[in-house]
């Protein structure tokens, strides 16, 4: 993109904002629909941040939690379960409509009181404590929770409660005064928000074209136009970067990094993603009901060796189900998971393991290095005497009674243990409902304290107890936080921000700049 070079050079010399600054991103996948409310996929997360805003924003430059005004300029708790928010004035949607309390109430209630099945599903696991939003006046709204909520800001900063326009959405299909399922379906192909970039063209699964939105209320977008194109083949994607067809590419495999870094015109950036690749174990499989067997399966796995061999040591191996991004709730002191083959052998002996075969299911390609990790785990199991067998298949087997073990991922949907461990391992959550994890009254009680205590120390103590339960009767072992890389032209300054959820392609002001050379 020589034009871009020329642009930045001229801009720095004479400060004439004349030529357009354009960027092309080669992504391994493009979302098939764009609706922040129903989506929580890794592919979709790339796109929403540029186009939509939340009521409460977050300082993304830090992995410490610092809340900032977003579409709301202030908020205060008027009752233990009622939050009142003053909305920013002069905010315009990309279609020219002004944002008012009605739009905010509509956006929130489409999730809090969801009738559209994809929203219901997303709302249930994280927004279940919210009853409704209501308008006080044109620039004031109140949100009612069912019970006192310790995570107000966190849960108003979610992608799922980004603000969308009411009238526009309702008019997309059917009756223009009523919100119907088809309105939401249509919205996901023609998304409109308040963010610094509007979506000029969206070809599902193929291409997203952003254009700067001049009516944006905050710092204006630094780029005029960004085209994110699907380039599924790794080799083609890297070559496209080299030929200048792309300026930035996503999803570079660890073994390709040195190739790119060796090129004087290119560079890579990367980070351990806020997501765990995990091994799950079916606590209800007749042969695995004895927790000692599962503890042994877990203790036998040398995760540091997996990291060295598969991720060149760039992944992060956790001692517990915890991440730095959790802020105050980050608990590196917990020692829930360890490598101890001797102890594994002892436990197998005590449990009377008779050499039965333990199957480990994996997709061939879904998780980067997933199959290789599975094969290595079989070797590690063999070291302690467990007879393992990898079963490669495409089907999700997490809900199958015959499941013994398989790989899975536990993403951080938002920066709190509730947004990671919590979504997957809550009482009656996905894992329990799929029949491979059990909770009891005691677990539910600890869960309550962890989820709803207003005291951080109390929440931490409860989370520690949950981890003790997981350790004593393990249904899961977090293997590592995979290392995710992007590659780009050397003059581009861009990197994923530490305060963001994984995979976001952030091109807002302050997120990208160009070295003048």
């Amino acid at each position: 993109m020589k034009r871009l070079l020329a642009t930045t050079a001229i801009a720095t010399l004479v400060a004439v904002p004349a030529l357009a600054v354009e960027l092309t991103v080669g992504a391994s996948n493009i979302a098939p629909y764009l609706d922040p409310g129903r989506d929580h996929s890794n592919v979709g997360s790339q796109f929403y941040h540029n186009t939509f805003d939340t009521l409460i924003a977050k300082n993304l430059d830090s992995d410490k939690t610092e809340w900032l005004p977003g579409l709301a300029v202030s908020w205060e708790l008027v009752e233990p379960t009622v939050m009142e928010l003053k909305l920013r004035e002069g905010v315009t949607f990309h279609n020219g409509e002004d944002m008012t309390a009605d739009d905010v109430v509509f956006s929130l209630n489409r999730m809090y009181q969801a009738t559209f099945p994809p929203y219901q599903v997303r709302a249930r696991d994280r927004l279940a404590n919210f009853e409704k939003a209501e308008k006080v006046d044109d620039h004031t709204v109140r949100i009612h929770a069912k019970r006192a909520e310790p995570l107000w800001e966190t849960l108003l900063n979610l992608q799922q409660v980004m603000i969308i326009p009411e009238d526009y959405t309702k008019a997309l299909a059917g009756d223009p005064k009523v919100a119907e399922n088809d309105d939401y379906e249509a919205f996901s192909l023609k998304p409109v928000g308040t963010g610094p970039y509007k979506i000029a063209t969206f070809t599902p699964g193929e291409q997203v074209v952003y254009e700067r939105f001049d009516g944006f209320w905050g710092d204006k977008a630094p780029l005029d136009r960004v085209t994110v194109k699907r380039m599924p083949e790794t080799a083609s994607r890297i070559t496209a970067l080299k030929t200048g067809e792309a300026d930035i590419i996503t999803n570079v495999a660890p073994d390709q990094l040195s190739l790119i870094d060796g090129d004087p015109n290119l560079k890579t950036v990367g980070a351990a993603t806020a997501l765990f690749h995990v091994m799950i174990m079916n606590v209800n499989h007749p042969k695995l009901t004895d927790p000692r067997i599962r503890q042994a399966m877990s203790l036998a796995i040398d995760r540091d060796t997996l990291n060295e061999a598969l991720w060149l040591g760039k992944a992060v191996v956790p001692a517990s189900h915890t991440m730095q991004e959790f802020g105050e709730l980050y608990m590196p002191e917990l020692e829930t998971f360890e490598y101890n083959p001797e102890k594994a052998k002892e436990l197998l002996e005590e449990a009377g393991y008779d050499g039965f075969e333990v199957t480990f299911d994996t997709d061939a390609v879904y998780y980067t290095n997933g199959l290789l990790a599975a094969q290595a785990i079989m070797e590690m199991w063999a070291e302690v005497g467990i007879k393992g067998k990898v079963q490669v298949g495409e089907k999700w087997t997490g809900n199958a009674p015959e499941l013994m073990a398989r790989n899975w991922s536990n993403p951080m949907y938002f920066a709190d243990p509730f947004g990671s461990f919590g979504v997957m391992w809550a009482p009656n959550g996905p894992s329990e409902s799929e029949g491979r994890f059990n909770t009891d009254e005691a677990y539910a009680k600890i869960w309550e304290r962890f989820r709803y205590s207003s005291d951080v120390a109390e929440r931490k103590a409860a989370y520690g107890e949950l981890m003790d339960r997981i350790k004593a009767d393990p249904p899961v072992l977090p293997l590592y936080r995979p290392y995710e890389s992007w590659a780009m032209r050397k003059d581009i300054n861009w990197a994923p921000k530490p305060g963001n959820i994984p995979y976001v392609l952030d091109f807002r002001a302050g997120s990208i700049s160009f070295a003048s050379n």
Binding site: G26, P32, Y33, H40, S41, P117, P118, Q120, V121, R124, D125, E185, A186, S188, L189, T203, P204, G205, E206, K229, R230, M231, P232, E233, A235, S236, R237, T239, A240, K242, T243, G244, E245, A246, E394, K395, W396, N399, W408, S409, N410, V423, M424, N428, G429, P430, S433, E434, G435
Partner: protein, 308 residues
């Protein structure tokens, strides 16, 4: 000729119905789209909710009837993933695929017919041997290897050709060569063999004895008679290319065509798109076959008149 055409059409219709039915049941054997549309970590209760929203809780028979009915409005149902009419999704991609197919067929014909004839006419000299070597090489190299090799040389090292998309004429070069590689190899060999068969026939000797020029002998008497064999091979190979050849090529070069769409919808089990995509490709194959059948009739009066 009319009866002949009617027979072709009837054959197509029966085959089409068989394909439609087979595709419907085959796609359903491979897993539920819910796992892929929604992703990981949903409760059984939510899974049931979505299964019902997408109409997948209905009996197979009801779904099959709805599937057939969706042909009526020309929309072919809604994609599970994109929630827009399947006809629209596939429609966006037909032209890029067709362009690539046509350019590949053109390149194939332009190279393999002359090469095959050369190979036959000069079968005893080094020219003939060289043609055969090229043909065997083309056959032996898989298309994804050829594609990667070209990308390495012409894009990565030399930076002459673009790698992704279909934005300009330059974008056609590598995908077209990749698509036609095996086809050129195969058709060259078939043309050569067909010509060799014909060149040994008595009527060729007669033609020469009549004092016709060598050019007339080879092209009018030789090629015309060899064309039946060549046509049937071309038909089969182009149909094969339309059905499967584009899948790899489109993925490698990020070509926004049907092959790429098929792969993607197969991965996420987007039944409606997958079904219609397979059907669209099948129709293309049927049409190509019909065209070949008609071309036969043109080339060989015995077929046209039903006296073969």
């Amino acid at each position: 000729m009319l009866t002949y055409l009617a027979r072709i059409v009837l054959k197509m219709l029966v085959t089409f119905f068989a394909i439609v039915t087979l595709v419907f049941f085959a796609t359903r054997l491979s897993g539920s789209p819910i796992d892929f549309v929604i992703g990981e970590g949903i409760t059984q209760e939510d899974r049931a909710l979505l299964t019902s929203y997408y109409g997948l809780d209905q009996s197979t028979w009801v779904q099959y009837r709805a599937f057939l009915a969706s042909f009526a409005d020309g929309q072919f149902g809604l994609s599970f993933v994109e929630r827009r009419p399947v006809a629209e999704i596939v429609g966006e991609r037909i032209w890029p695929s067709l362009q690539l197919l046509l350019s590949s067929v053109a390149l194939t014909l332009a190279l393999s017919l002359p090469l095959g004839i050369l190979g036959a006419v000069y079968c005893k000299s080094w020219v003939g041997s060289a043609v055969m070597v090229v043909a065997f090489l083309g056959y032996a190299v898989p298309n994804f290897v050829l594609a990667t090799f070209m990308i390495l040389v012409f894009s990565y090292w030399l930076n002459w050709l673009p790698v992704v998309g279909n934005g300009s004429a330059w974008h056609f070069i590598m995908p077209t060569i990749t698509m036609s590689g095996i086809l050129i190899a195969g058709l060259t060999r078939f043309t050569r063999n067909a010509m060799l068969d014909v060149l040994g026939q008595d009527y060729m000797r007669t033609a020469r004895a009549k004092g016709l020029s060598e050019q007339t002998v080879i092209f009018k008497h030789g090629l015309r008679n060899a064309s039946i064999t060549i046509l049937s091979v071309i038909g089969l190979q182009i149909a094969g290319l339309a059905a499967a050849g584009s899948v790899v090529v489109e993925a490698i070069f990020a070509w926004p065509g049907i092959g790429d769409l098929l792969v993607r919808s197969a991965i996420v089990r987007d039944y409606p798109v997958l079904q219609f995509g397979v059907i669209a490709v099948s129709v293309a194959v049927l049409l190509i076959n019909a065209v070949v059948d008609i071309a036969y009739a043109y080339a060989d009066p015995r077929i046209r008149l039903g006296r073969a």
